[in-house]
């Protein structure tokens, strides 16, 4: 199954570019999304999911954590429509919608992204969404965006 992707940016250029943590904590996450794969940290000892990543499993204190590829599906847990730009790059970029998506197939961990499409679309908590990998070719990074599943 090929995941959906786009090179069209939802938000204007100029926001900070995500970089892997200098201590190596999430190097694999940022490499995986470049390959259009969604990964979540998973504990090899207790099999619990964990996101955002940490060096230890909060459920069993094991240090043996791996990254597991998960389905690119989720549902909207919360959302907000942003009207006031707090960054120079967003001066002409409002309104836009930020969603908090939970992944039922990965222990209900949550991820922040934008909801693609009309920013004024009605938004219903619980709606099914799927990931769209947004490639920023020049910056050599990929963001994980979300769109409603019809």
């Amino acid at each position: 199954m090929t995941a959906a992707s786009t090179t069209e940016r939802y938000l204007p250029e100029g926001l900070a570019i995500p970089a892997a943590s200098p201590d190596g904590l999430d190097t694999e996450y940022w490499a995986a999304v470049r390959r259009h794969e969604l990964v979540v940290q998973r504990c090899n000892a207790c099999r619990g999911f964990q996101f955002g990543p940490e060096w230890i499993c909060h459920q069993c204190r094991s240090l043996d954590l791996a990254w597991e590829q998960v389905q690119t599906r989720g549902r909207i847990y919360s959302w907000e429509r942003v009207w006031h730009p707090v960054h120079p790059a967003l001066k002409n970029g409002c309104p836009y919608v930020v969603v908090l998506v939970e992944l039922p197939q990965a222990g209900n961990v949550r991820m922040v992204g934008n909801l693609l499409g009309d920013p004024m679309q009605p938004i219903v908590i619980g709606s099914e969404v799927e990931a769209v990998f947004e490639d920023h070719v020049e910056d050599e990074v990929t963001l994980v965006q979300w769109r409603i599943v019809n």
Binding site: A19, P53, S78, R81, V82, Y96, L143
Partner: protein, 390 residues
């Protein structure tokens, strides 16, 4: 044995001091001078001299460090210097608690808790720093335009409102209560600027569900309070505001990165409020007046619930203008105007107001105050709480 390990009733706030409160960028003097002025006013209010101070406590990475202050003030003996971890207003009550603990422990005798803040001279909290790169944990939020405190916390408030069917009216009532109280308070930056429901509804969205008036101001100024032992406070100039209880901390994994706190629609006060009431030996029904930190009205809404004043499903009925306003509301909150309408002094102005309510000198005085509560922080981690008594 365990009652030996408490600050309950052993320390009092003996003095309070505040500079003029200014709009952001309007302070005519430096942030450090503002801080000095607030400290000098607080010791004078207490009937002490600046050289009586032997301890300093603050929070939220205050830039005015105790060594510079003690040097500038000519303090002979700096016996205690302390910073409460964490950002925003989460440490206001916590800094008071740390100061009280230092006095009970015998580290120091007269501790000043202070906050100096000139957002016009330094960075603004409401704006994102234009960084080129971000890494964990901001890499999971900032590239999606989730940058500011308002954006960070609107997400929590929206989920709470969804789960409990809360209407916008509850947030409007919280904002209008603060503005109403500010109209009696000449210190308030919004004194003479009343807020009608129409003004609220017509104000622009910052980030849904927060209108402009759901968000704290950005200000310049400073505030300070002086703590000393209950015994010593009784012989000083002012009626002491005794520290009945204080607590600080965070609920389970509230700092989980990328908005993964398990109990997400929360102000993070559940365990902290429980410890507060346990130390105080009183419950929410005995609270006469409360100062509830408003970074955003949504946080006040959840703080009211988590301090036991109403149940989550009762917010629409409880959070009304009538309930939340002095003198006769069931729970008057933010009686000086608070962060929304008096001044955003990171909530230290809420502690000075809680003291005034105990003294009987508030510009929106609640009759016969015995129990005066302060909730510092909502939705940040750690948060902190304080109960003062007459």
């Amino acid at each position: 044995m365990s009652e030996d390990f408490t600050i309950r009733d052993r320390v009092a706030i003996a003095g309070i001091g505040e500079t003029t409160y200014y709009r952001r960028g309007a302070a005519p003097v430096s942030e450090f001078e503002l801080t000095l002025e607030a400290i000098l006013k607080a010791v004078e209010d207490a009937g002490l001299a600046a050289t009586d101070i032997d301890g300093f406590a603050s929070y939220s990475n205050d830039r005015n460090d105790p060594s510079r202050l003690a040097t500038a003030l000519g303090i002979k003996d700096l016996a205690f210097s302390n910073m409460f971890w964490g950002g925003g207003g989460g440490g206001g009550s916590g800094a008071v608690a740390n100061a009280a603990a230092a006095i009970v422990a015998g580290y120091a005798e007269v501790v000043v808790v202070y906050r100096g803040l000139a957002q016009g001279q330094f960075g603004r909290f409401g704006q994102a720093a234009p960084l080129k790169h971000v890494s964990w944990p901001m890499s999971y939020t900032a590239p999606y335009g989730l940058l500011s405190p308002a954006q960070t916390f609107a997400m929590r408030a929206n989920r709470f409102m969804y789960e409990h069917g809360v209407k916008q009216d509850a947030l409007a009532a919280i904002a209008m209560a603060s503005y109403h109280h500010a109209q009696s308070n000449p210190r308030a930056v919004m004194y003479g600027r009343p807020l009608s429901r129409e003004d609220y509804d017509n104000s622009r969205w910052i980030v849904e569900p927060f209108h402009l008036f759901d968000c704290c101001q950005e200000n310049d100024g400073a505030a300070a309070v002086i703590l000393t032992s209950a015994a010593r406070a009784r012989d000083l100039k002012q009626k002491p505001a005794y520290i009945l209880a204080a607590s600080q901390g965070s609920d389970f994994r509230q700092s989980a990165p990328a908005h993964n706190a398990p109990d997400y629609p929360s102000s993070n006060f559940k365990t902290v409020a429980k410890r507060l009431y346990a130390m105080a030996g009183v419950g929410p029904d005995e609270v006469d007046v409360a100062q509830v930190y408003e970074n955003f009205t949504g946080g006040v809404m959840m703080s009211i619930v988590e301090h036991g004043f109403c149940k989550p499903d009762e917010v629409n009925e409880f959070c009304t203008f009538e309930t939340l306003t002095a003198p006769n509301g069931k729970l008057p909150i933010n009686t000086s105007g608070g962060n929304l309408a008096e001044c955003y002094m990171h909530g230290l102005e809420l502690i000075t107001e809680a003291v005034r309510q105990v003294r009987g000198t508030s510009t929106c005085q609640v009759p016969d105050v015995n129990i005066s509560l302060v909730a510092s922080g909502p939705m940040v981690s750690p948060v902190s709480d304080l109960i003062l008594r007459a």
